[in-house]
């Protein structure tokens, strides 16, 4: 119920925040939406000595589309994505947003915060892996752009350094002949995924698949991009058989644990089902059907 003692800083500019990180980033936890961090502190699973609250920093809440890229600043809440027309530029992102936790968490929790926290059962990392996102890491000495695959190191671990802060995530918008989707099985609203599957497709003029993204949630020690399944799709005409093959590969690639959300056998089965379903949904959008 009661967290350990901590210092609280609430800078009003990014420079100020980055200066704090430069000076003593080791002992700092950044507070954005706090929907994971604060419960962990209450249970004393996390005992940071300093909280750096970035909520008063202007300019971090941008949700923009430009030149075929959708960008989300560190203070974009899950619910901002749910409500945003701009976010529809990437169908996987738009489809995942309403599945994040529950309405209360969505009002405060942030997309970037979720990625930076890197809970291996988080939904957003799969979305970003399927869509090939990039993250902008800022520090007092400048900024660098990191590919999502290089960003996600291991559960609760990213390549963000103690003196850095993730200030933005960028993801390619789908073209008119692209589509994406997020499938999630949860025991009830607000639960972590029993299984989550993010998919993304781009088609060429012939209707063949030119790029494909598939990533899985909660069925591997971390979010899993299934490269082999993606490769199996590229260059081929979409079909039920092709998607079934992708589903088979994904279900073999994952390594779910048996827990209270379900047995490994069951989760593997759901990966197969949801990969097929997600791809079919993505295809429907890409072909100009229902979104």
């Amino acid at each position: 119920m009661y967290p350990s003692k901590f210092n609280y800083l609430a800078p009003e500019s990014l420079e100020e925040a980055l200066a704090v990180l430069a000076e003593r980033g080791d002992e700092v936890k950044i507070l954005a939406g706090g929907q994971s961090l604060i419960p962990m502190m209450k249970l004393r699973f996390a005992e940071p000595s300093t909280l750096l609250d970035i909520n008063r920093i202007p300019g971090l809440d941008g949700l923009n589309r430009s030149n075929g890229t959708l960008s989300l600043g560190s203070l974009v809440r899950h619910n901002d994505v749910v409500k945003s027309d701009t976010a529809q530029a990437n169908h996987t992102v738009a489809s995942a947003a309403p599945w994040i936790a529950d309405p209360i968490v969505r009002n405060l929790g942030t997309v970037v915060g979720s990625l930076a926290h890197h809970d291996p059962e988080g939904d957003w990392a799969s979305v970003m892996l399927a869509c090939g996102a990039e993250l902008v890491l800022s520090s007092s000495t400048g900024e660098r752009v990191v590919d999502i695959e290089d960003f996600l190191v291991d559960m609760f671990t990213t390549s963000c350094q103690p003196n850095e802060m993730v200030t933005e995530v960028r993801v390619t918008a789908h073209t008119a002949s692209g589509g994406g989707n997020y499938q999630k099985l949860e025991r009830k609203v607000g639960d972590y995924a029993t299984v989550g599957v993010a998919t993304s497709l781009e088609l060429d003029d012939n209707g063949d698949i030119t790029s494909a993204g598939i990533a899985l949630t909660s069925v591997y020690p971390r979010n899993l991009k299934v490269v082999e399944a993606e490769q199996a799709l590229v260059g081929h005409a979409p079909s039920d058989d092709l998607f079934a093959e992708a589903g088979r590969i994904a279900s073999e690639a994952c390594d779910p644990a048996s827990d209270i959300r379900g047995s490994a056998t069951y989760k593997r089965h759901i990966v197969d089902v949801f990969t097929r379903r997600g791809l079919a949904k993505s295809l429907g959008i890409a072909q100009g059907g229902q979104s």
Partner: protein, 758 residues
């Protein structure tokens, strides 16, 4: 001459809840909001093991934490024996505020720290170092029977083994359909919005306790007895309560520790339960396993039923006398000629089993309604028809249930079960649903329709108490022994009294929860409040009205029998001759009363009712199942309930919504899970799934009215009905979608998928 209406005019009016502004604006105060000067805070050191010998406690580092006042350990409370009374005959073990030698469940309190802030208390509790020697964990009930006893003073973990009914007679029952099966009732958590909380102060005149409770009067009695005080020296005050569902009907270890800590430190001491502590240590509900055998005719008429039950009491036996509620309600709505049961209570390294909304009746109902479905499946008779053919008929009331005296049933007051079933089938368009289902099946969709019928027993301790006090300005305060936890008594009870006195509802205030001002009573439990406390308030107001009419008669020079109280006036019936209520009150308080009448209008009554009452109803659920994932979705739900006369239909609807949600939660999501080492897996709401509005459909509510003769209002209990009837309806719907499969709660997507792929 006019005649008074038999029931007050406000009975049946949907008066809006008067307590909500305070609740919504945060003005309502709960125990945790109350902090006298100098309050200290209690934090517990809890066993991380389900079963372990405590071999040493080091409190040195904890004492160093700034702000720590006291640390209480086992020897400090070795002479504080808690209820229930140890009973060697039934293996009811001794219970102390802190473990004596051995921790018996995860979270068992080992030491308590008192400090100036809650954070300091928690910091210090983290620095109490305890040495444990883990022991083998006794988890599953069946294994516990043969396992070494967790309480060494007993020979076995079987605390309780009782049977009733004639087993030989059952074995001789003839019928072409003979079925048996198992119905599991996993542990669930009460989980009210407000956790438990207590604030204890030792005053110049004794002990004052603020307690989140359902029954402050009983808690006062218990504390006085256990701390060797006169009841005049113990005052329990219960402010607003944010839900209880049964879990605030007794005192727990932490309550005793807080009282002891206040005595040791001489300061007010407060303890507020965390959610994790609640999930770990609160009395869990249900926790039963039933094996049934049933014999029936080919037309679905049941001829005999036998239920062999095991109940997981957890590590300490609380509420032993209450556990027979399940077998005693075992025949439910049905006229079953031969019935019997066995019930064994088993001690395990789990949290103690406690009372939870329905408390025994949901278990009886779920098993019975699964039996009905099994009979329907085996005979091919429509499940609605099987119920109809077995219902107790209206002319059989009063009806002695559950095999009569042989199996220790109850005397049901009134009932018309077919009426609720007919209404349900009509409002839900049962035939239309079956047509829709057939079409869905053609398309490969898995739609299921589930029915349930329930009857429950309400109104324990068949008396209630209330005092009505009339103030000089004519306003009225009612002091009641029952305890609102969200039901809306401040509205419904006020309606009853205002109706009798001809006043506006806003002129009537309901006071509850302070033992210094309210009469003795059993508080709120087992859906007794309206029937007992409501009837008592109504009757006390009736006595006030009777006297007020005499006073008014004198003022108006008319016979008291001709006076009508309405609209704030006392009027001579059939005339416009009247005085205001205030004038009557002024006269009464100033001794301007007829000969033989004492001044004042206040009245207190302890009203005995004509026994228990038995509300009933039928529920129907429609589920859709995703054939590939097994995922069930509750699509539609109807409830037709009959709780006799309804005081406030709006409040009644709210009660039913909440109850339905809890019952659905049990059917689909809720379950306490321990791992193999006895650790609690479901120790937060991330893992323990509480139903929320987003997961539920809009409920279709309807009702019938079969009043009870047991109280003047004709009102039966309603608080638990939703939680009793909804679980089996949903389970039966899932089973129906799966072609009559054997399913157990909570019916998870994976369980369904396995059935589909087996």
């Amino acid at each position: 001459m006019t005649t008074e209406p038999a029931i007050p005019s406000f009975l049946g009016a949907p008066v809006q809840r008067r307590e909500d502004p305070a609740l919504i604006t945060g003005m309502a105060r709960y125990v945790d909001d109350i902090t006298p000067n100098g309050t200290l805070y209690l934090a517990l050191v809890r066993s991380p093991f389900a079963h372990a010998e405590v071999t040493g406690i080091d409190v040195e580092a904890a004492h160093e934490v700034p702000g720590v006042w006291a640390i209480i350990t086992s020897e400090d409370v070795a002479d504080v024996l808690m209820p229930p009374t140890p009973n060697p005959a039934r293996n009811v073990p001794r219970r102390y505020p802190l473990v004596q030698g051995k921790a018996l469940m995860p979270g068992d309190p080992v030491a308590a720290v008192v400090a100036e802030t809650a954070a300091a208390a928690k910091d210090a509790a983290d620095l109490v170092f305890v040495d444990y020697e883990p022991l083998d964990v006794v988890g599953d009930m069946e294994e516990a029977i043969e396992a070494p006893p967790i309480h060494p003073e007993f020979e076995s973990n079987v605390a309780y083994d009782r049977s009733k009914g004639d087993r030989k007679a059952f074995e001789l029952v003839e019928g072409p359909i003979r079925l048996s099966g198992v119905v599991e009732h996993p542990r669930v958590v009460p989980a009210p919005m407000e956790n438990r909380a207590i604030l204890a102060e030792w005053m110049e005149d004794g002990l004052k306790v603020h307690l989140s409770s359902q029954a402050p009067q009983l808690m006062q009695k218990q504390l006085a007895s256990d701390f060797d005080l006169s009841q005049t020296a113990v005052r329990v005050i219960t402010p607003f309560v944010g839900g209880a569902f049964g879990c605030k009907f007794d005192l727990a270890e932490e309550d005793y520790l807080t009282v002891i800590a206040a005595r040791v430190t001489g300061r007010p001491v407060k303890w507020t339960e965390s959610r994790r502590e609640h999930l770990l240590t609160i009395g869990h509900g249900r926790a039963q396993r039933h094996r049934y055998e049933v014999v029936a005719e080919n037309d679905g008429k049941i001829k005999g039923l036998w239920v062999d039950s095991m109940i997981d009491l957890g590590c300490r036996a609380r509420y032993i006398p209450w556990i027979e509620l399940t077998p005693r309600m075992g025949t439910g709505n049905y006229d079953i000629p031969v019935y019997g049961w066995r019930m064994r209570g088993i001690l395990t390294n789990r949290a103690p089993r406690g009372i939870y909304r329905g408390a025994g009746r949901p278990e009886a109902t779920l098993t019975l309604e699964r039996v009905i479905e099994a009979v329907a499946g085996a005979t091919g008779v429509d499940p609605a028809e099987v119920r109809r053919r077995n219902f107790i008929q209206p002319d059989q009331f009063p009806y002695h249930s559950s095999g009569g005296a042989v199996a220790g049933g109850y005397k049901y007051d009134t009932g018309e079960y077919e009426k609720t079933l007919d209404k349900l089938l009509e409002v839900a368009d049962y035939e239309g649903l079956r047509t829709e289902q057939a079409a869905a099946r053609e398309q490969g969709r898995l739609m299921g329709i589930g029915l349930s019928a329930y009857v429950e027993v309400c109104g324990f301790e068949s008396w209630g108490a209330a005092r009505v006090q009339v103030h000089p300005d004519g306003s009225v305060t009612v002091f009641v022994e029952t305890l609102d936890q969200g039901q809306g008594h401040r509205t419904s009870f006020a309606q009853l009294v205002a109706g009798v006195l001809g006043l506006d509802v806003d002129q009537v205030k309901i006071e509850q929860g302070d033992t210094a001002t309210t009469p003795y009573g059993w508080g709120t439990s087992g859906s007794r409040s309206i029937a007992q406390g409501g009837s008592a308030s109504h009757a006390a107001a009736g006595k006030v009205a009777e006297k007020a009419k005499k006073v008014a008669g004198r003022l108006l020079e008319a016979s008291a029998a001709d006076i009508v109280l309405a609209d704030g006036q006392a009027t001579v019936a059939g005339t416009d001759v009247s005085v205001t209520w205030e004038e009557v009150v002024t006269a009464a308080l100033n001794g301007n009363v007829p000969d033989g009448v004492t001044p004042g209008l206040d009245e207190e009554i302890h009203l005995k009712s004509g026994g228990l009452n038995f509300p009933f109803g039928c529920h129907l659920a429609v589920v859709d199942i995703d054939p590939e994932s097994g995922s069930p979705r509750l699509d539609r739900m109807w409830a037709v309930d009959d709780a006799g006369n309804i005081v406030n239909p709006m409040l009644a609807e709210g009660q039913r919504h909440g109850g339905l949600a809890q019952g659905v939660g049990q059917a689909l999501w809720e379950q306490v899970i321990y791992d193999e080492d006895g650790n609690l897996v479901t120790s937060s709401f991330m893992d323990y799934l509480i139903p929320t509005a987003v997961s539920l459909p809009l409920f279709g509510l309807d009702g019938t009215v079969t009043p009870t003769p047991t109280n003047p209002l004709g009102a039966k209990g309603l608080g638990e009905a939703g939680a009793i009837g909804s679980t089996p309806a949903v389970v039966n719907a899932v089973a129906d979608a799966l072609g009559g499969a054997d399913v157990q709660i909570p019916v998870t997507a994976e369980q369904i998928w396995r059935i589909l792929h087996s």
